[in-house]
């Protein structure tokens, strides 16, 4: 039981941090750059992707026995597209304002390679439980990445977070940050930061190993 729990924990953390779909695998760049001009948009996009990924992983994993290998990709796409369309209509009915902002990028979730990637690489080979945990981890990781980008861009580009002004009247918004170039700039800097963190951690582990060897 503890082993099982450990496995699940491992699969979850993997998506959230170690194999983060954006910062490590650099997948799903289209929505990442396009709709992260504010924290709210980023979270809405993250939420929509979250729903699609978790439900698709669950379904693909439960149906894997009956899906012939030759048509698996088309079947996955049908499953993903169905959930995306459902999300599209639901968002339009429940939160029309946010739906309008996200516009064409909700239907484009179908083409997010991170989602299809998880089906092919994980959900179709593992138990339903692990597939759902993996999807939860990856989706949370994606949402976390979108939010980091959206928050940085909104703070610098509008001087606000979630629409609340953070700075005084004298703050001159750095408009380029909410325009497309700002997306590339912020993403590049964030990737740099996460790679630096990883390198530092690797160095630390290396040093600890060396010390251990010496101690012996």
């Amino acid at each position: 039981m503890t082993q099982k729990k450990q496995d699940a924990y491992h699969e979850f953390i993997k998506g959230l941090w170690r194999d983060n779909p954006v910062f490590v695998q650099v997948l799903g760049m289209c929505p990442m750059l396009a709709v992260t001009n504010s924290a709210v948009n980023a979270l809405a996009m993250g939420g929509a992707t979250f729903f699609v990924l978790v439900t698709s992983s669950f379904l693909v994993s439960s149906l894997k026995r009956w899906i012939p290998k030759q048509v698996r990709i088309s079947t996955y796409i049908i499953i993903i597209a169905t959930f995306v369309t459902v999300t599209d209509f639901t968002l339009e009915a429940l939160v029309p304002g946010i739906h309008k902002e996200l516009g064409a990028f909700i239907p484009l979730i179908v083409a997010n390679c991170m989602i299809l990637g998880r089906q092919e690489a994980f959900a179709s080979r593992h138990s339903v439980r692990l597939a759902v945990v993996d999807a939860l981890g990856m989706a949370s990781g994606f949402m976390f990445a979108l939010f980091s980008l959206g928050a940085v861009r909104e703070i610098l580009g509008e001087g606000a977070l979630f629409g609340f002004k953070l700075f005084g009247e004298n703050f001159e918004p750095w408009v380029i940050m909410i325009l497309p170039p700002g997306g590339f700039l912020t993403l590049g800097l964030l990737l740099l930061f996460f790679n630096w963190l990883k390198e530092r951690k690797d160095n630390l582990i290396q040093r600890l190993d060396d010390m251990e060897v010496k101690a012996r």
Binding site: W66, P68, Q70, T75, I78, F89, E92, A93, I178
Partner: protein, 218 residues
């Protein structure tokens, strides 16, 4: 267990009937789900769109308590039960006493990136715009989107004579009543808004002027 499933898939080479059946079944199921969700959400979506339009009419025509959709047919404005496809319609706004307040006229035209759709309140006798609201636009965030986010720009349409037409001038150089200050950094978007109103008005002004008997419609 995992291993067994994998081998069973590998050993049994499925016939094409099975492949076709799998995909058709998936497609059928997907279609059914999509149609039912569409049907379930359609009333909410349609109601929201109608509500947004109605609220916009009330905002651009202050003092309105009820409104009526009007079309221009056979030389006069009339109310019709069903609007024909492609036919332009405007809204007549009426006050609590049943008298006409003004017209809310929808217009659209190219903006900086995509079509801008807007609605403006108009008093034909005074030839005056008394309010403007952007219904739909995809202008650049942070720059062009100021045409609806910049309160000062929107407010400049609250009492603006179209005589003979509106002119957008550089910020701070407004000198006549029919001029408005364009937004710095969004000159093209500001001019697009002005152009849409001017063009729409050119089309509707003669029609509104001819239909003086419109007050009796209600």
């Amino acid at each position: 267990m995992n291993n067994r499933t994998q081998t069973s898939i590998k050993t049994a080479e499925p016939g094409s009937t099975r492949l076709v059946a799998t995909l058709s079944f998936a497609g059928l199921l997907s279609g059914l789900i999509i149609v039912s969700v569409y049907e379930a959400t359609l009333p909410t979506i349609a109601a929201y769109k109608a509500k947004v339009l109605q609220e916009a009419v009330f905002r651009v025509l202050p003092g309105t308590t009820s409104l009526q959709r009007l079309v221009y047919r056979e030389g006069r404005l009339t109310t019709v039960k069903k609007i024909e496809k492609g036919e332009e319609s405007i809204f007549g706004g009426y006050g609590a006493d049943g008298n006409l307040v003004g017209y809310a006229i929808p217009g659209s035209g190219p903006g900086f990136q995509d079509t801008i759709r807007l609605l403006y309140g108009y008093l034909p006798k005074e030839r005056k715009v008394i309010g403007m609201e952007i219904l739909e636009s995809r202008e650049t965030p942070g720059l062009g989107d100021k045409i609806y986010k910049d309160a000062a720009f929107v407010a400049s349409f609250d009492d603006l004579p179209i005589d003979p037409e509106i002119v957008a001038v550089k910020k701070g150089s407004k000198s006549a009543a029919n001029e408005i200050d364009a937004i710095t950094g969004a000159t093209i978007s500001s001019k697009a808004v002005v152009r849409i109103i001017n063009q729409t008005n050119e089309r509707w002004y003669p029609r509104l002027n001819l239909s003086n008997d419109i007050d009796s419609v209600k």
